[in-house]
Each structure stands twice: as C-alpha cells, then as structure tokens.
Symmetry: C2
Subunit: 447 residues, 2 copies
C-alpha cells in the first residue's frame, strides 16, 4: 500500500543545486515537494514548482529545456495550470515518474546538466524572490480529531465528567471545515468577532474573540478521487493520498464553546485555516513509515473496514512537529522565536488511510485536491501538546515568553510558526518548510 523506498531516497545523492546539499535544508534532493509560485519581479502567471534547497525549479520551463517521456511527460503536462489539482488526479504512478525524472535531472552527476547548464539554471527561481501561493484548489476540507491525547485533554475541559466519548475508539471523528478561508503560510489572520457568553452572564455578547488559539495539524491531500456511492477499501486508501502539508486550524475557543452544541464547530474555526506552501509527496515520506502507534491492550480492534494488518504496522509516519511563537515585543527586541511544543505524527490514534477510508465509507465522493486535516497533534507529554488551550491548561498555567510577557491565548501581533521534519538513521532529513501566521486585531466593521 505505502510507497516503496527507491533510489530517489538514497542519502548519498547530492544535487548541482548547492543549497540542497546543506544538511540543514528542508529541501534536499531526497524531498522534492511540490508547490505553486509566482515571481515577484515578473507578471507571469503562477506556475507549478519543486523546492530544491533555497531554489524553486519551474517544472514547465524545465520540460521545455530537456526531454521528458511517457508518464513523466504526462505529469509535466498536468503541471501546466496554476494548481496541483491536475497532477493529483491521475494517481501515484504519474507523480512517481515525475519525481524519478526530476531526481535524475537534479543530481550532481547529471549529464544533462553538464550539457545544458545555462538553460537549466534559468529554470531555477530563488525562493526569496518568489511568492508562494496556495498550491491546490481545495474543493472540500474535512478536519479530523485523531489524537487521543488531544481529544482527552480538550474533552476533560469541555466535559469533565465525560472526556473521551464512547465512539472515539471506533469512529475516526471528523467534521466538514470551511474551504474558502484556507490561506497560505505568511497570510495575516484577523482575530474574529463573534458571540461569546461568560459563565456568569445572563446573555451572550458580540465582540472580538478573547481566547484565540492555534492548532498544530498535519494536512493531507486527496489524489485520485472516488465516484459517489463507491467506497474506498482500506488496502487501497493510500493510493488516493497525494501528499502532506502543515496546517494551522486557528480556533476561537470562546466562540466555539458557546456555539458548538449540537452541530459542532462553525464560526469558531471558519475565519481562517493556514496551510504550508509545499506538498510533501507520499513517496518522499516512504523511508519514514516506521511510526507505529500501539493501541492499549484493552482497546477495541478497529472494525473490519478500517482494519488491515499492513495499515496497523506501517500506517504511521515518524514526523516531528514543532510550534514556535514570537510576540511583537520579541521581534522588536530581535529575539528568536520561542518553541512552544514538539510532538510527533506517529502518536495519532487513527492513520491517514483510516481517516480517508472512513470518510468514503458512506459513499461520499472525494475529489482530487480535497484536503483533510488530522486534528491537533498532541502527544502524551505536556511539551508535546499541539495548542495553547492544552499547553496553558485552559489559561491556568500561562506560558512565559523570553520578553517577560505571558500567554494564556494569542495576542494581536503574535506570530505562530510551525515546522515539521522527518529524520532517521541512514536517510537524509526532509522538511516541510514553515506554516506561518501573524495575528491582526479584530475588524470593527460589524454593525
């Protein structure tokens, strides 16, 4: 089911793009994540690109410079537009052929490079000089709730008597999210207004959210879709997953608390969701499928439609996730961002294959480019909690910033920065780039 380790993962590979050989880069030649960029200095339309070191390889330009054949050529044609959707639709083979072709082209020992140096170097755009755009036209966005640690921590705040509901260990719980307000890393996020009700108040009032939070999540994109009425078997699920990104599911805790019964989160979430710019393909992640989550011995087995041995053994992904914050004061004082937490995607109760299969199990059709969020990634320890609500224990244990400030929830001017990377003995470290969002004050144009 999951992609195999092949020569594109060889840790000895180096690239003629020097910055890709820096041991600290997120984007060595073993990664090759896809995105959409626009040059800041020209009026050309947005293009599909591949991150390599501190450069972006313009895929279309590259295909005009050297020969691509068969599947790789088809994949390149699918990159002609200004989103990854067409490349996501046909399936894993196309993307794999493109990866293999680009890996060969970018290698330090590439003969094609030696004979086409100037032309190929012209296909590179420095990442610094490009604007990175939302890489995918997202039809539907679904957000899951797959960390049992997060569900237990948050459940104990909202429902102290009943933190983990009886369905949790059977159902990959999820809800439909808002697609329109998904923005790319770097976009400012305005603090939402909304209805909130204080516990001791008679009536709710409308005004700026006072309990603004982030949620650290992994997003994954649907590749080939399914027809309505036709479920996706668990053994086929990963063939329908194109790749992963970082996702910040901004949350207004006070709005959410007052509105969420009985139909779930709505305006407490829909004001913004931030995505990282680069989509890391499932094939790039192949060496890191050693993230095994072990259910407790007395936990129920998944129902058969969610249960195959292979998915239980190899379903996890050993992906380290980190959240950093800077306040305006910290930036004024030139302080580096402070790390708030470090967790791992392997700690999730449900795998991405299980989430996807569950989603389609009622016949719901998934389309290429649809986005699923994992839910907040929290681990068992306090320093691996993926949102402020958990980290600061609902405000009772404020976080101390190096500037002397304290944070129960986010303040205007704060910036939240998420990072993710895979590393494993015997392989090159690969990264996700960043998922960054600065917080703006609330709008005053409401009535």
């Amino acid at each position: 089911m999951s992609r195999l380790i092949n020569e594109t993962h060889d840790p000895k590979l180096k690239s003629w793009v020097e910055s890709a050989n820096d041991p600290n880069t997120d984007f060595p030649i073993q990664n090759l994540p896809l995105g959409v960029f626009k040059s800041r200095s020209s009026n050309e339309p947005p293009r599909v690109g591949v991150a390599i070191g501190n450069q972006i390889l313009n895929v279309k330009a590259c295909s005009e410079a050297v020969h691509f054949d068969k599947l790789a050529a088809e994949a390149v044609r699918a990159c002609a537009g200004s989103s990854l959707n067409s490349l996501m639709a046909p399936g894993t083979e196309h993307c794999s052929a493109l990866r293999e072709r680009l890996s060969r082209l970018l290698r330090a020992d590439s003969k094609e490079y030696k004979s086409n140096k100037k032309t190929l170097e012209k296909c590179l755009v420095p990442m610094d000089s490009a604007q990175l755009l939302l890489p995918v036209e997202i039809g539907d966005y679904t957000d899951f709730y797959s960390s049992i640690h997060h569900a237990t921590n948050v459940g104990s705040m909202f429902r102290p008597d009943n933190p983990l509901l009886p369905n949790y260990k059977y159902v990959p719980i999820g809800y439909h999210g808002r697609s329109s307000s998904i923005v790319v890393s770097g976009t400012s996020v305005r603090r939402p207004n909304g209805q909130t009700k204080d516990d001791d108040a008679q009536e709710p009032f409308f005004g700026p959210c006072r309990l603004l939070d982030y949620e650290l999540e992994v997003g994954f994109f649907v590749g080939p879709g399914n027809s309505i009425g036709e479920p996706i078997k668990i053994k086929d699920a990963e063939n329908h997953i194109f790749g992963l990104c970082l996702l910040n599911d901004w949350s207004a805790r006070d709005i959410q608390k007052w509105e969420y019964q009985p139909l779930g989160p709505f305006l407490g979430k829909s004001f913004a969701t931030t995505l990282s710019s680069w989509v890391v393909t499932m094939e790039a992640l192949a060496p890191f499928r050693n993230g095994v989550f072990k259910r407790a011995d007395n936990d129920p087995k998944p129902l058969p439609y969610l249960d195959i041995a292979e998915d239980q053994e190899h379903g996890g992904i050993d992906l380290t996730l980190e959240v950093f914050i800077t306040s305006e004061k910290m930036r004024n004082q030139k302080m580096v961002p402070m790390r708030l937490s470090q967790g791992n995607f392997k700690d999730m109760y449900w795998t991405i294959a299980q989430m996807l299969t569950h989603h389609a199990s009622n016949g719901c059709n998934l389309r290429p480019g649809d986005l699923m969020g994992s839910g907040t990634v929290s681990g068992a320890t306090k320093d691996s909690r993926g949102c402020l609500l958990e980290l600061a224990s609902r405000g009772s244990e404020p976080i101390q910033l190096p500037s002397g400030e304290a944070r129960r929830f986010l303040q205007d001017g704060d910036e939240v920065i998420m990072h993710a990377y895979c590393q494993r003995q015997g392989f090159r470290r690969i990264g996700f780039g960043e998922c960054r969002g600065p917080v703006l004050p609330a709008s005053n144009k409401t009535t």
Copy 2:
C-alpha cells in the same frame, strides 16, 4: 434591502410561450428562474437557461437573436459558461436587468417577438427533451438549523432533558456541509453504509443505514461575496443573496446518532444532498416577502449585529413547501405520490439575511455560488414537519401509504419529491419545480 415589486411581477402579463400562461405552471413569466441544461439530442455543451412554462429559453442563443444593452448585455455575457457562478458574482443590478429584458422579450405583446418569431422560437428547448444539471459550482455548502420547531422536536429525541439548547435563540446554529456530494434533482441516492450502535449492544457494527430520512430545506445561493476578514452588515445581507432553491438534506439517523458527538454531523449527511434544478431569484420572490415570523414575547431580542427593524418585518418569505413519497409498490400500482407534509418557510426562527450575516460575522469569506441550507423546515403542527424522524415520531407512529405499506424511515425504491410555491392574492403563483430523489440499495463493496 429586499427587492421591490415592479412591472415584471404584474399578474396580468402573459407570454407568447403558451404553456407559461397555464395557471398551474410553476414557471409563468413572473418567475423566470435560472438553471443550466443540456440538450439530450445534441452534443452541445451545457448552457444557462431560463424556465418559461414547459420550455427553457437558451439565454446565449437569445442574445444572438436580439439586442441586449448595458447591464443586461453584461449579464448575458456572464451566462456564457456552464454554471450560474459568473452571473452571481456582480450583484443584484445585473440579474435584475436581465430579468427585466427577458420579461419584455417573452411578453405576449412583444414587438420583437412579432418580427423575429422563428429565430426566437429556436431559442426554446422543451424541458422534456433537456437534461437539467446542477446550476452552480458550489464552493462551500453550509447547513443551518433555523426552524425552532424542528430543533425542539429533534432535540427532545436526542436529548429529552434538554431539547432546545441555551444558545438557540441567540445563535443561528449551522455547520459546514459536504459540497462534493450535492446532486441535482432526479439523481438516484445510494443508501449509505456506516457505523451504528444499538442501544443494548456492546459494540458498534458497520452496515447499511437502517434509519434513512430526508430533510425538507430551502437552499439559498450567495451572489457577490465578501473578502476574508470583512463581515457583511445585516442591512446589506440580501444584496449578497442571489436566489433560492429546494434542498433535500438526506440523513442517516442511526449513523448520525453514533458519530455526532462532539463535532457534529458528518457521514450521516455527507453521502448525498439533492438540489432542485432551478434557482428562483430574490427579485421573483419580492411579492411574497410577507412571511412574518413573530418571536415569543419572552424571547430575547437578536443581538444588534443580527437585528434591524426592516429584517424583522420583511425578512420572512411566504413560501409553501410540500413533501411527497412514492414506493416501488405504489408506482407499480400506478398510484399518485402521497403528500407527507405541508409547511411554510415563514415559520423559520432566523431569516436568510440573519443566517448570512452571522456566517460572515467572524470574517469568513463567502464566495459567489456558495450554498446555504435553511435546516429542516418544520412548523408548529404535526402535518408541517419536514422529515420522517419527526412525522413518524422516531418510528413510533409509522406513516401509512395508500399501497398498504407503512414507513418509519425510507426503504430502497422509495422516491422523495419536494415542491415549493408562493401564492398571494393579486399575484401570479410561482413555483420552484421539483426536488426529486429515488433511493437505491446500499453498496456491498466496502471491505
């Protein structure tokens, strides 16, 4: 805020399309709803059309036959594609100019018709010979819960101690729905599979839904959108609403019951949503804005961002809604569909303007063509309940069909047909066409 009554609503107007003068037609010249159709007999691409009697006027063909000027010409150009989205984007003036122009052209006394009979008649396609498609590319779909009768009836089943939650009279409760599985009237709907858990069972099981239901709703489409972070004031809300349709929010009650806590309905809803083919514009509805809902004297006033006098007085729409059913046995015996209920959209606790303004109040951006559902439209009386769950009192009072069968919930082979119409002394009755969905057996391809 709401559109004014003008000469296009004059009940004395007749059309040279004879079938539009039939007193029983849903589509007299006073209606002119918009849709997208494809001829069954040619390979032409889908086109925007207007329903008139039992015919469809091909808008593009029509604009090639006679002169359209200014805003109407711009509106026609926006109809060049195969969805209504481009027509929805620019605002009420364009749609109004198009309506006025088509009304003049289709009048029995039109001089243009007299001098272009053959050409104009060629712009008509008999509805019988056309395939009606989903009229809009729907980005996001949001479903509200705006009938206090429905919320109370259903709440008392799921939470007997606590039927109407404390937020209901303050917050227009809603949740994000699934866009991908929205289908047009006439499309078969496959019974979903899913996890359900019997009350006395130790564990859930996976299999075909046993409590399949419909929900009678009104859908409304966003016209011009708003930018992210910029709310929409209640006094401007109807300028952002393009028109209405009928919506069947199919619901798997058993799946919904087991999955819906804590994040709301998900797979119990996302397998299918059926929309009627024609979008009735807000201007066509202008004479019927006399549907005043009066809150109980001790109910709270809406918070200021949802409260203006004009919306309270004219926000409702006097729209009669009916649901019919046929079973396979009834159809085999040539029985006519049986009416299950009759309700009215004016009985809703929240107006469409309030729902839209609430939705954007946190800065969430709405886009042209986004769809909002009202939630099940139920009235105070038993015969006005908009779903089987309520009508058959959770299965305890089965509905008797004329074939001798009984229905607690829907069976395979049943067909649900919804109708809606506005009528008022001194105006022509206008209708919505039908929203029809036959039920197919569940898929057996799950594991």
